[in-house]
């Protein structure tokens, strides 16, 4: 790891101010991607601004079917929240299957979304739940937030403070893990609620997370796994690598979508 300057931010405002003073600073939360990358000398931020001690970014609030999750909430906390599980069990289950216990107890929802790893799980949830990404500057629709692999609508000094969404009537996430890394090779989150049917795919797309309109339409007219049997998953838009080519991933997208619909009931 190259030398870096560490700052513990006391508030969002403090964090933004510190970022303003740094040459090439980075916000860090759980650090489950950034720290290993720095250890491999593949990233060399001049300053690390730690958001883990900003209390206003923590916690889960559920009012009826309105859910707010603080950006600094760990995957383990999302998985363990009883009130969230009552309102939206699918996101609890998703969080419980991210990485390993170490990752789940350190990594945060805000960090995951801000990094937008094309194989991360949360981006699919945000898209499929029609979530709003709340920052210190504005509120962004999930559909507009994820702009490509490791790319988001966030500005350099902008901090995600929370995410909010309306819990759907039905929802589930099904993923096929990469055999080596256990990130998603294809992860599909389906939801059915007031805002209709949403189907979001992570891990498979060559440009990161995406919604699949054809499957959404098919499920909107018939909420049953058989409804998507004839849907076309265009392999041209999907990744090929040593773990599987795009035709295999196209298959996985459909299989995971079916399994998610079945799990959602």
């Amino acid at each position: 790891m190259y030398n870096t300057n560490y700052h513990r931010a006391s508030s969002v405002k403090d964090a933004v101010a510190t970022m303003g003073k740094s040459d090439d600073g980075k916000f860090v939360s759980g650090g489950q991607t950034l720290i290993p990358t720095m250890k491999q000398r593949l990233a060399a931020p001049s300053d690390l601004i730690d958001l883990r001690h900003v209390d206003s970014m923590k916690g889960i609030a559920v009012k009826g079917n309105q859910v707010t999750i603080g950006a600094g909430t760990t995957h383990a906390e999302v998985n363990a929240s009883k009130e969230l599980r009552k309102a939206c069990p699918s996101i609890c289950d998703l969080a419980g299957h991210i990485g390993d216990p170490h990752v789940r107890n350190m990594g945060t929802i805000g960090g995951s979304i801000a990094n937008n790893d094309p194989a991360a799980d949360y981006p699919a949830a945000m898209m499929a739940l029609g979530a709003q990404i709340v920052t210190d500057k504005r509120t962004i629709d999930a559909d507009d937030f994820f702009t490509g692999m490791f790319d988001t609508a966030l500005e350099e000094d902008e901090i995600i403070t929370s995410v909010t969404f309306t819990a759907p009537a039905k929802g589930a996430y099904s993923k096929f893990p990469n055999p080596a890394s256990r990130y998603a090779m294809a992860g599909v989150f389906v939801s059915q609620g007031d805002s209709g049917v949403r189907v979001a795919v992570t891990g498979a797309g060559s440009d990161g997370v995406f919604r699949h309109g054809e499957m959404e339409a098919a499920l909107a007219s018939n909420w049953d796994s058989s409804a998507i049997a004839e849907c076309n998953i265009d392999a041209d838009d999907l990744l090929s690598d040593l773990h599987g080519d795009n035709s295999y991933r196209a298959n996985l997208v459909k299989v995971m979508a079916k399994r998610a619909v079945e799990a959602a009931g």
């Binding site: 790891m1 190259y2 030398n3 491999q40 000398r41 096929f176 055999p179 080596a180 890394s181 040593l242 773990h243 599987g244 080519d245 295999y248 298959n251 996985l252 299989v255």
Partner: protein, 786 residues
């Protein structure tokens, strides 16, 4: 409770390992220690035009920056392969030069070009990044068959067409005649995938040159510290043997990769002399993937002929073996004498011929990896047998049974003379334990859940107890493969056993101590096993090839024989009895049939006080022995694997794995079962998960655990392990060896089960979900077309 042979004594070494108190090479810290960071080639094949060290030399904390020209100028010799294998025309192998730091040319990604010595790992790494190397990139080749083609870039001038040697074993003409006359011929092309060894502890070295004594000390992660010292001294000219102490302390797994002497150890020793500082290097995981010798990487075409009674009449094999960019220490022996000599398997085959071409490519050097040649042979034979059974329409178990060797000794046409075994007993035991007969019911039940269930078998044999020195010498080995032991009895009756074997996970401190418990009835706690230090242990050949039991413990037995004989002489003198009437049991030395008794400690004290010894006897009780095996040993067994496959995703789940092994005498069944469990995990890893993959430019795509799939607990079932034992007649304890069996026997069982499940025989290792899914699709479209 007995702690002798056959007792499940808990591992003595685990107390320090599981409490984090093991002492590994990287735990060694010396005063004023510096750290080495290597400048490595990012190209698979390139000429080195220039190396600019000037910036790096001025950086913070840097003690020195050195390149291969300096290394060569100081007389450090090239790295060699220690086993000479000639081509079939009699010409010697075409070994290219391997300098510990490349001078004019780099030949694989990771090839070391220069080294920085600095006061911290971070400063060393930063300065290494600042070394400017100008490369002229050459075209590269990673595939061995392609490397042999005309017009491909030459990797070493010594090896035209990148061919190292073209070797054969067995009789070609009779084999071809037999196959031509066969009623049925099974023909296959089989790839044995390249894997990375992945010991939990990465390689490490701490080298210290003491200028006042003109003496070097090297702590390193070695499976054979004496061999390391010999090679460092005799071939690499680092220091004469008496001026070089090599210590391999606790070592966290080897699997073959820590047999060899790598550039890093040589460079650390030399750099310690250059800088007059203690120099430490510990590989990070990426360096381990890039530079630890890889395993396997064979492509073979094979033909097996059967007569009308389904007896094998001939077996012809043509193998291309990829040895990587340089010839590692034992690389030549793996695809030849450790591979083709096992091609008879458990079967009575009159005619076998195998041709092997070994090839240079722009990849990490390939050498022995758990099993070393024998897994490649076993995979070939057992895939062929299973496929032949399906083609012939007979039960795979019956085809095997019809061809088993049943009488011993049995001379195969490929050097090996099997000394013992009961192959049918292992087959029967595995079939019974797996409820082989009930498989179709289980398959139907799985189908009702939408799963494809398959069963596969593998009857393996291997050659261990490596090896009779004269025999391996006649085959080209540069060393003898005996083992040594010294038993030191202390005046109070406790013992130190110094062994040339090296434990890096095998549990020698427990198992070897059981021999003393068994012999004298002493608690195993009274025994200290000493290994891994050339200043303490007289000499030793180390641990690999499942040899510590059959060879290492045989040496201890020989030394114990001498200790026992002397102790009896002393006791007979003290008790005024006949030497032949003395028995030693339960820690007491008795005159048989009388109540005359001495404590073991009294006899030992008598040996050291020397107040009352027989006339002419030397004081003390300490004996040494060298044991040279009379033959290889032949562990064998039968593994049966059952899988269930999700046809939608191609995911393979191993739902049952049954192993029946014949390891000869078993000293500690718990440790032996652990060896089988670990071996199967590695075999399953190779079959389902693991592969070192290069892209077209020779970049290693699987350079981290993000892409290299290690087996994890949830990839593996609970195994059913049992033993059908025949005693090995070749060594005093009757031991055959158990360290590699699991890794040798399991891959074909897994692949045979998968191909059985999906009805498509065209699956290569690793059988990843995407490959299995594609094979299922191919089967379905073929069925649809029919």
């Amino acid at each position: 409770m007995s702690e002798g042979i056959g007792a499940r004594v808990l591992r003595k070494e685990d107390k320090r390992f599981i409490t984090g108190n093991g002492k590994y090479t990287d735990d060694v810290t010396n005063h004023g220690q510096c750290y080495a960071a290597f400048v490595r080639s990012p190209h698979a094949h390139a000429n080195v035009k220039s190396i600019d060290k000037s910036t790096a030399e001025k950086m913070m904390g840097v003690e020195g920056v050195f390149d291969g020209h300096q290394l060569t100028a100081d007389g450090i010799g090239n790295i060699i392969c220690g086993w000479a294998v000639n081509s079939k025309d009699g010409s010697p192998m075409n070994m290219g030069a391997w300098s510990a730091l490349a001078t004019n040319k780099v030949r694989y990604v990771g090839d070391a070009v220069a080294v920085v010595i600095a006061d911290s790992p971070s400063n060393a790494k930063s300065a290494a990044e600042a070394v400017g190397v100008e490369y002229e990139v050459l075209s590269s080749v990673t595939n061995a068959a392609k490397a042999l083609e005309n017009g491909v870039e030459q990797i070493h001038p010594e090896a035209p067409n990148n061919l190292i040697f073209d070797w054969e074993i067995g009789e070609k003409d009779p084999t071809e005649v037999a196959i031509a006359g066969a009623a049925h011929v099974t023909e296959m092309t089989i790839t044995n995938n390249r894997v990375s060894p992945n010991p939990m502890e990465p390689r490490s070295a701490v080298a210290t040159f003491d200028a006042s004594e003109d003496h070097y000390t090297l702590y390193t992660t070695s499976q054979n510290p004496h061999v390391a010292r010999l090679v460092l001294s005799a071939f690499y000219q680092v220091a004469p043997e008496h001026k070089l102490r090599v210590i391999a302390p606790d070592v966290g797994g080897g699997f073959g990769a820590k047999i060899y002497i790598y550039p890093e150890e040589i460079v650390c020793l030399w750099a310690s002399m250059k800088t007059k500082r203690s120099v430490k290097w510990t590989a990070d995981r990426t360096e381990a993937f890039l530079t630890d010798a890889h395993g396997r990487d064979h492509v073979s075409t094979a033909r097996m002929g059967f007569d009308a009674n389904n007896k094998i009449v001939g077996f012809a094999v043509d193998t291309i073996a990829n040895l990587g960019a340089y010839m590692s220490l034992f690389s030549s022996s793996v695809p030849t004498y450790l591979y083709a000599t096992l091609l008879s398997g458990q079967y009575n085959i009159e005619n076998i011929h195998c041709n092997v071409r070994t090839v240079y490519t722009n990849t990490t050097p390939v050498d022995a990896y758990r099993g070393a040649g024998r897994p490649e042979a076993c995979f070939l034979i057992e895939r062929m047998m299973e496929t032949a059974a399906r083609e012939l329409g007979v039960d795979p178990a019956e085809l095997r049974r019809a061809n088993f060797v049943c009488e011993f000794p049995h001379q195969t046409p490929v050097i090996m003379a099997y000394d013992s075994g009961d192959f049918e007993a292992n087959l029967e035991a595995s079939m019974k334990a797996s409820d082989y007969k009930g498989f179709e019911t289980r398959r139907a039940e799985a189908a009702s859940r939408g799963k494809l269930r398959g069963i596969g078998m593998s009857s393996y044999i291997e050659a261990c107890g490596i090896a009779p020195s004269a025999a391996v010498g006649s085959l080209g080995a540069g060393v003898g493969l005996w083992e040594s032991a010294e038993v030191r009895v202390n005046p109070v009756g406790t013992l130190e056993v110094l062994t040339g074997s090296h434990s890096h996970g095998q549990g020698h401190e427990t198992t070897f101590a059981q021999l003393i418990s068994d012999r004298f009835g002493l608690p195993s706690d009274n025994v200290q096993i000493v290994h891994g230090d050339t200043d303490k242990v007289q000499f030793g050949m180390g641990t690999y090839g499942s040899r510590s039991g059959a060879v290492g413990m045989s040496a201890i037995v020989k030394a114990l024989d001498k200790v026992e004989a002397k102790a009896k002489k002393i006791a007979a003198h003290m008790l005024e009895a006949d030497e032949g009437d003395i028995v030693i049991e339960n820690g007491e030395v008795k005159v048989a049939g009388t109540d005359k008794t001495l404590g073991w400690h009294e006899v030992c004290l008598g040996a050291y006080t020397a107040h009352n010894l027989p006339e002419g006897m030397e004081p003390g009780l300490k004996e040494g022995a060298f044991y040279d095996p009379s033959n290889f040993t032949f562990p064998a067994g039968c593994y049966i694997c059952e899988v269930e496959i999700d046809p939608d995703t191609g995911t393979v789940e191993i739902v049952q794995f049954v192993a029946s092994d014949d390891f000869g005498t078993i000293i500690n069944p718990m440790i032996v079962e652990g060896q089988v469990h670990g071996g199967i995990a590695q075999g399953v890893g190779q079959a389902l998960l693991e592969e070192a993959v290069y892209d077209d430019n020779g970049q290693l795509l699987t350079g981290s655990y993000m892409d290299y799939t290690m087996p994890r607990a949830d990839n593996l079932p609970s195994y059913t392990v049992s033993h059908e034992t025949t005693i090995c007649p070749g060594n005093p304890l009757g031991i055959k060896g158990c360290g590699e069996a699991g890794a040798i026997g399991s891959p074909p069982a897994v692949i045979n089960a998968i191909t059985n499940a999906i009805g498509n025989n065209d699956i290569s290792m690793p059988a990843t979900p995407s490959k299995v899914w594609a094979a299922i699709q191919a089967t379905q479209s073929k069925q649809a077309a029919e």
